[in-house]
Subunit: 759 residues, 2 copies
Amino acid sequence: MKLKLKQLIVGIIVCFVIQSNAQNKLHTYVDPMIGSEGDGRVFIGPSCPFGMVKPSPDCTVSPNSGWLPMPKEVTGFSQVHVSGTGGGPKYGNIQIMPFSGELNKIDQTSFRQEENVKLGYYETVFKENQIKTEITTGEKVSFYRITYPKYVTKDLKIDPGFFLGEPKEPDPDAREAQQFVGSQIEIVSDTEVRGYSRIRGGWNNGRAYTVYFWAVFDQPIAKYVTWKDGKFYSNTSAQFDSGKKTGALLSFGKEGKQELNVKIGISFLSSLKAKNNIEVEIPHWNFNSVLSALENKWEQLLSRITISPDTSEDYKKMFYTGLYHTMIMPVDRTGENPLWTNDEPYYDDFYCIWDTFRTSSPLITIIDPDREVEIINAMLNIYKRDGYLPEGRSGNENGRTQGGSNAETVIADAFVKNLKGIDYELALKAMLKDAEVLPGGNEEKEGRGGLNEYLNLGYIPYGIDRAGNRTIDYAYNDYNIATVAKGLNHTAIYDRYIKQSEYWKNLWRADYEDNGSKGFIMPKDASGNWLDDVVFGESKIQKPTFKYTPTITESPWYVCHWCVFFYEGTSWEYSLSIPHHIPEVVARSGGDLAFKNRLDTFFEKELYDVSNEPSFLAPTMYHWIGRPDLSSDRIHTIIKNNFNSSPKGLPGNDDSGAMSSWLAFHMMGLYPNAGQPYYLINTPLIKEITFQLKGGKSFKISTKNLSDKKKYINSATLNGEPYNKAWILHEDIVNGGELILEMASKPSSWGTTMLPPTK
Amino acid sequence: MKLKLKQLIVGIIVCFVIQSNAQNKLHTYVDPMIGSEGDGRVFIGPSCPFGMVKPSPDCTVSPNSGWLPMPKEVTGFSQVHVSGTGGGPKYGNIQIMPFSGELNKIDQTSFRQEENVKLGYYETVFKENQIKTEITTGEKVSFYRITYPKYVTKDLKIDPGFFLGEPKEPDPDAREAQQFVGSQIEIVSDTEVRGYSRIRGGWNNGRAYTVYFWAVFDQPIAKYVTWKDGKFYSNTSAQFDSGKKTGALLSFGKEGKQELNVKIGISFLSSLKAKNNIEVEIPHWNFNSVLSALENKWEQLLSRITISPDTSEDYKKMFYTGLYHTMIMPVDRTGENPLWTNDEPYYDDFYCIWDTFRTSSPLITIIDPDREVEIINAMLNIYKRDGYLPEGRSGNENGRTQGGSNAETVIADAFVKNLKGIDYELALKAMLKDAEVLPGGNEEKEGRGGLNEYLNLGYIPYGIDRAGNRTIDYAYNDYNIATVAKGLNHTAIYDRYIKQSEYWKNLWRADYEDNGSKGFIMPKDASGNWLDDVVFGESKIQKPTFKYTPTITESPWYVCHWCVFFYEGTSWEYSLSIPHHIPEVVARSGGDLAFKNRLDTFFEKELYDVSNEPSFLAPTMYHWIGRPDLSSDRIHTIIKNNFNSSPKGLPGNDDSGAMSSWLAFHMMGLYPNAGQPYYLINTPLIKEITFQLKGGKSFKISTKNLSDKKKYINSATLNGEPYNKAWILHEDIVNGGELILEMASKPSSWGTTMLPPTK
């Protein structure tokens, strides 16, 4: 008996080691540099999953993610960033910068000689002074290992006055620009510095937020100066907040070891809480163990989707980096909410849901449904305390809508996928607030701008900002409300909202032809007249007009980006973005053949915009005319032409992982129609994918004979039974099992008859 | 030459002493206890003019001002309070409590044996332990002198977890209840403690605000324990914020002097800023010099209005306490704004303008026009950064409207009184935001709830909260906008708003009779039907209705206070509250005689409510039928029956000094119609009043032969010329001079013909 137990334990350990060896590879496929150059704008520094702290170099104050490619100079390393964003920058707080020299100037800008980035790890060596900086991070604490050359002074700047996106010419009213409010610094002891940075504005034009820090060093400070408002003070250990920029230059001398370790605890409550975050999370000085802990967290998540070992290195990198990018935002700030008691989950940096509702939320739901429940509960708490669900939110404040109130879709998606632990009655109330109460005052902050017109006319008339995409988004959001109301047996609410979900039809100009296709969402005035010519800009004197067509993009720099008929897109794109009534769009386009031609024209004449979310669903729309083969063809062409594993491997802003999750889904041969309970099935890029599901079950998607030539699904089985639908319900996945796709070199009749569900 | 200089200096000193002796009496007439009992709810502790810090005992967590009369127990002394308020309490932060005993319990409640209060000074001795606490204060620093009995330990509790208005049963959603968010405490050295209190909610249902402190002691801490969440920690000098209540019990031992001095710096930015506030404002330990500095500040302000030396002691107390109460709110938080850069004036605790626009703002304009300019500029900054002018604002957030958007009246009042240093073009924009952009989301936070209906129908239909008084207030606010627009030559705006200023007429039910009078503001539905019966409460089953009459008050406890037709008043009151069209109200009431009867009925049948602001103008309305004698009679009767110099000397909530400023104006024989450039002249209660005006001029109001019998104005001269109007323009006052009122025992023809202006 004893012996047997021993053998068992040894066996378990062996298994564990093998398994852990086998699994411990996945995170190495993550390449944080994918999408870092060009328009991707991803955050390249270390981050835990949904991690609050995101340390990274800031290469000037301009870039949204802080980083820019070499040879751009480095201003310093700050602790809070966002990933993949457009619009005005946010954060870039509590910057540090190692240097060597006199403690007499604030600017310590340096150039990089080399740079190395992997998951959880950043390293650079500065050209001028050969100082090496390595960074890793915990959830709320960043960790720096700085190696100075021999015989020079080991100096460090701490600059809580720095932030990204400061206007060059001071303009306290500048839209989307971060604005300085206050900062503070205190040298607490010879190994500790505390303080904060308080900033307002930025992308979401938000109220002031405060980032507190507590920095500790493994060597004593030998000498320091502090500054305020550009003036140095050599005998002053603290600079209190008087609305001026403050900071400190620290010197650790020339003596002792060349390696200086720095931990920076961050908190949104207080410096003491930041200190506690260090004590709880990283009580030691072991850089490598912080890095391993971070790697393990990612490994644990990434290993919930395993793929065929013979997948190409490129595909492995693209796929796991896709998962990674999907899970670095929003950020988990539970315990760090300065607005209400913080024992509930709290998330910030919804940046913004217009971007992420389509694919990011559904992907998180598959990998980590408990996390999605937490995120939605945090959204409901925001509704309860701040009055509205977030659409865009950052720095602890709602701000920015781009189209719909898309939290509705996120909630409906959770509801139809049966996520437990959400108070859906409360969620319905929150959605109805969006749908029934005009936010007013600032109609782009939250809720639904133009709501009264939408409700009174059944559409938003031209002249109200983003009339086109708001109308069609609201109609889909109303469908989401109807979905939840129906499930909760609120029949009257269902009846009302299912009716309103058809309001997109009120802007469908049926006889309008363009590029051989018929029927487009087009501008209409409040009296119900279609507008061929619309007003351009805001000139009250010349009152220019222009001919509005479905291919037109309306935003030259001197017309405000958010005042146009369609936000960041054309009528060609948005007219296809009706996710709940696609058969109706097909019919209104003239039937299957006409719709096929419409889609073909869309892609072939490059009316499709790979770089932005409104076009996300379009490549799969061939499914609704019984041609899943054409969907797969489009998707594969798009990926081949626009995505790769290089720094320029994302064709547009990653938008908190939106672009990356679109890619990850398509590599698996699945695509969600968020807010609805199914995934479309396409030809995967990866031969075998296994989901490790909550509760121990797994679901496998296997292909047979997949190759560049055999790229069409010929037949399929689900758990051994023939499966003839080109879509699969979420519940079929979570029940576990196996979907086998038998591939062939030509399209077959598979998936051509039982079209995706419409209710 | 030398000698002469010496003589000159001696002369100056003698003059100064004499003058200072003569003047130094005025502040002694201030009795902070007037209005402290009953409904007055004034703050009784020390406060600088518009002072940010207001230390006072908290007698349980219930009272709005903290204080209650003996024998109620004292929970402790907190540093931030408001004065005269109704609704849910706000503030009560950073409580301290001296005690003697073991450091083992948080509750150190004591009973008072005696209590002494004068301007700038509070003193009490506790019954159980004979500890004496004396308090005075600076602008941002409170100062405690605590005297312990011999041979006992000198102990002190610091409790940043305390706040007023905490619900007994925890209910995080309770309306108007302050809610705990977080707190922190650190024993910095043996003479310093820092920390903060973070609270949300309260009267204005505001976001979280943070009160930071830095406490210093003139004796070293001998021993301490800290606590978190009710648990004591004896070796822990800091309790970081984890969303739980924290605090410390300090012991200064038995040795040394019995007197412990404590300075508590307060800041809304940081603890270090609070420390700096101490260093800048009270670098010493001299209690008496802090008190003298405070007295001098008040003396300097109060002496801008001097009165006949032979005024009765009671009247002197009532008058100067009236001025005092008018100038303790809103509070000057310049340099303490955590929301945007703080080199502009910043004021908080507009609590609320619905209360203060009528008399408080006009009185500040007379005493200290520069202050009023600062306050208005702070309001405009709030509009710029937060989107709307404040109506109610506290804890750095707008919140609560009761009727109109009365900042319009405050601005118009400044405009017609020609206050310089205000950007009136910006002010007009801010007013137009109120008038044209529905706040939405939360329609009681700011701006104008029900705006769309008001604009579409010309009135707010019954069913929308406070439809009655919102309609008539908005009409007056529109008149205020028209006033400013006209002055700035914006003709189109003027034309629109002067038209809208008549919208009150749309709710005037001309043929409705009640108590012998005709024509009342009455509820109307959206289709234009007058409602005799209106819905009561929110029952969806019984749907009860009741007969709505002009004498009815609608708010039993189970109907929400803010959902009624008229907020805190009846149609009898509000139908007279049309400050811009009084001749029209007279005409619609049936002419002069009918209107006289109407007013007589109003006062004699006690339909007039002395305790609330909607009735403020009514007693002077006899002026508009050429009977200023009757106005004076009413005013004197009202004052005699309702106001005195006792703690119960105010008949209603003082509302940040609204009630007190009403009294002060009438004691001077002047009454403003805020937003319009004149004052009504009544028989003063004080024989001689002199305004020391900005720029060195003075204006004197003298009576001749004023006595209880000779109480009617027989004739008047202004600067020696006969003056026959019962009203005077603001510019006549600021130009300096003398108004002499010749009194007689019977009403004369004085003031009966040239009625107050209407444009």
